[in-house]
């Protein structure tokens, strides 16, 4: 029982990342009808927002401390971040420590802006072109974006730790009445899960309970009619692209303590999130979320030793295997809508 619980928990954080990226992909596909292969790159840019903020916050001034000496006997050079000078050592250190969550504030405007520029500058011109053209141009864009990031940040992963308050692990087993140390779960993954849950709820609430969301949903169902009613649907869809970019970016920001960001993390996640979208059903937002968590959990179950000894290698291929089976047996995916990409 506790083994099963552990696997479910392990699947949740990866599943949350899949779900968030797939949610953004589906938002873009459902509204604009564009297959966005650059979405993984948006996830990566979000992660690098966190890296950038961490770098900015740790810009330091070097002072010489005459009282202490280094091992050669010279006066010790002390690096103090400017933030500590400005806000005092304690608050300053806390700000540096909390760089990753703080990066959310930076990432939202940056990602929305990137989304706007992408949509207005490039993708707008591809609405009428075939899907394969959209795939190709966004694939090219993804290459360009990741090479730009590589140029500025290098090819090595950059460690971005979580705030020290969240670095330990939580003994969840005790809460549920198991023996201590049977189910241990890192705090940050728990944070990530709740964060993802909040964002997903927020997006759904926005679409479900606001007038803006209602118009967008109407546009997803029948774009032409909404346009005939005198609503500038294009403008709203551009906003949705910005929102989708922000969701992917935030997923990236918060994922940095789990996986040190490097320039090709976007491509690594992209393939899997496409599989997730297709399994969930093109154009279905609940489907994307459901499939994200489902595949995350399935993957962690497949990496259990008991399963691996039974079916060697299953942990490597389970997601693709599930995708193939679903695509062949349920043409629309798990929760796909009738009439969306049904060829």
């Amino acid at each position: 029982m506790d083994a099963i619980l552990i696997q479910i928990l392990n699947g949740l954080d990866k599943g949350s990342a899949y779900a968030l990226i797939a949610l953004g992909l589906t938002l873009i596909f459902g509204t604009l009808g564009v297959v966005n292969f650059a979405h993984g790159a948006l996830f990566m840019i979000g992660a690098f927002c966190a890296v950038t903020l961490q770098k900015i916050l740790t810009i330091s001034v070097t002072t010489i401390d005459p009282e202490r000496t280094d091992f050669l006997g010279n006066p010790l050079k002390v690096q103090t971040p400017y933030v500590e000078n400005w806000f005092g050592p304690e608050i300053g250190a806390a700000i540096v420590d909390w760089a990753v969550p703080l990066a959310i504030v930076l990432a939202i405007p940056v990602m929305v802006l990137v989304g706007f520029v992408m949509e207005r500058g490039l993708i707008k011109h591809f609405y009428k072109r075939p899907h394969s053209d959209q795939i190709l141009v966004t694939f090219g864009l993804a290459i360009v974006l990741q090479e730009i990031i590589k140029y500025f940040y290098g090819a090595n992963p950059i460690p971005t730790p979580a705030p020290s308050a969240f670095r330990g692990s939580l003994d969840i087993g005790v809460w549920l009445g198991f023996d201590p140390f049977t189910i241990i779960y890192p705090y940050w993954r728990l944070v990530y899960f709740f964060f993802a849950g909040t964002i997903i709820t927020g997006v759904f609430a926005f679409l479900q309970f606001t007038t803006f969301g209602m118009v967008v949903r109407a546009g997803m169902a029948d774009r032409e009619t909404v346009g005939l009613l005198g609503i500038d649907i294009d403008k709203r869809f551009t906003l949705m692209f910005g929102l989708a970019a922000a969701v992917a970016g935030l997923a990236g920001v918060m994922y940095t303590p789990i996986l040190s960001p490097n320039y090709h993390m976007g491509m690594d996640f992209l393939v899997l999130s496409f599989v997730v979208v297709v399994v969930g059903g093109m154009g279905s937002l609940p489907g994307a979320v459901l499939a994200g968590f489902l595949l995350g959990i399935l993957q962690s179950f497949a990496s259990m030793n008991e399963v691996k000894s039974l079916l060697p290698g299953i942990d490597q291929i389970i997601i693709y295997l599930v995708a193939i089976v679903i695509l062949l047996t349920r043409p629309r995916g798990l929760m796909g809508r009738r009439g969306v990409m049904e060829d």
């Binding site: 290459i143 140029y151 693709y320």
Partner: protein, 402 residues
Amino acid sequence: MLGLERKDTLLMFAVAFITLLAPIILNPFPAGSALAQFNAGYPDLMQRFVIFGIFAIGFNILFGLTGYLSFGHAAFLGIGSYSAVWMFKLLSMNVIPAILLSIIMAGLFALVIGFVSLRRSGIYFSILTLAFAQMSYNLAYSVLTPVTNGETGLQLTLSDPRILDGASSGGLPVTSLFGAEMRDTTTLYVGPWTWDFSVGYYFCALLMLIAFYLSVRIFRSPFGMMLRAVKSNQQRMNYTGLNSRPYTLAAFVISGMYAGLAGGLLAAMDPLAGADRMQWTASGEVVLMTILGGAGTLIGPVLGAGFIKYFENIFSKINDGILHQWFAFMPDGLENFMVTVIHPFIGKGWHLTLGIMFMLVVIFLPGGLVEGAQRTGRLFRRRDRNADHVESDAARQRAAAE
């Protein structure tokens, strides 16, 4: 000739001419001169040109004719390489059985994968092929290590049985074609120029010409017509009571066999096979080649493959020192500025150049380099005709005035 129309015969001859004289054409700069780094006429690179040319020609038979965008073609390349290396290990260092096996194995895999994937079309087909290729890649890395030798990659060892060759003495044997070693190279010195003619290159070039000829025949055949019909309107074809799946499956298997041949040749030139040949970025590369050259055209994919491989090898070798030499004629400040501006696009950053170029082609020239050439050609021709019009108009007016 050879069952081709006049235009295609000409194209065939042009391609044959260029491929056979490539060691000379690709080395236009004398060895040792400042521009010698742009020479592409060394055997290793030329082999890559033709091998990836074969790969792209095959991919084009599927994507260019039927419009099915496969994102998993590298799997067949990898399978071809693995089967070829196994043949070298078990049977003989002769390349013929190795290449035959790699074509057959890739064809079999393509039959199975194609049979399943072609049940869907559009993006679902792309995802299905991607899923299959990623599965093969992941398996080759992990569980199939006894067959693929995992991360190290499959290589020759001294203890391999090699039934036909018998035990080898001394070092590792090299791949050969009935005794002619693949790496044999004759270097010709003409004045300051050096030209390398290698057995391996000519072997690959010959196979590429055959592959190209077959693809021309496929393009012009009723079968090719059927595939084009699938691209333009599959639904309509189904309504006329025609089952298009056998045709698309045949195209998929043929293009898989082309990829297998390319993989086998890669192994024949360098008997080593690794799983990274199957990764999805490798599949992306062949897509880039085909689109960049011109999907659906005969010569496009070969051009694209040559273009990308040339830039990969030549562009990535340019460094800041060379740039400084080029701009040395400028004033210092301007020189440094130019070097700083160009720096991100060369050397390790050539992927950035490739990405930008690829985007530009997709946005402005959906037909690739071939369409670009045609458009420029048409531009000149139209201008000529306009000039004719103007002249004839002028003549008529003059006649009327008189």
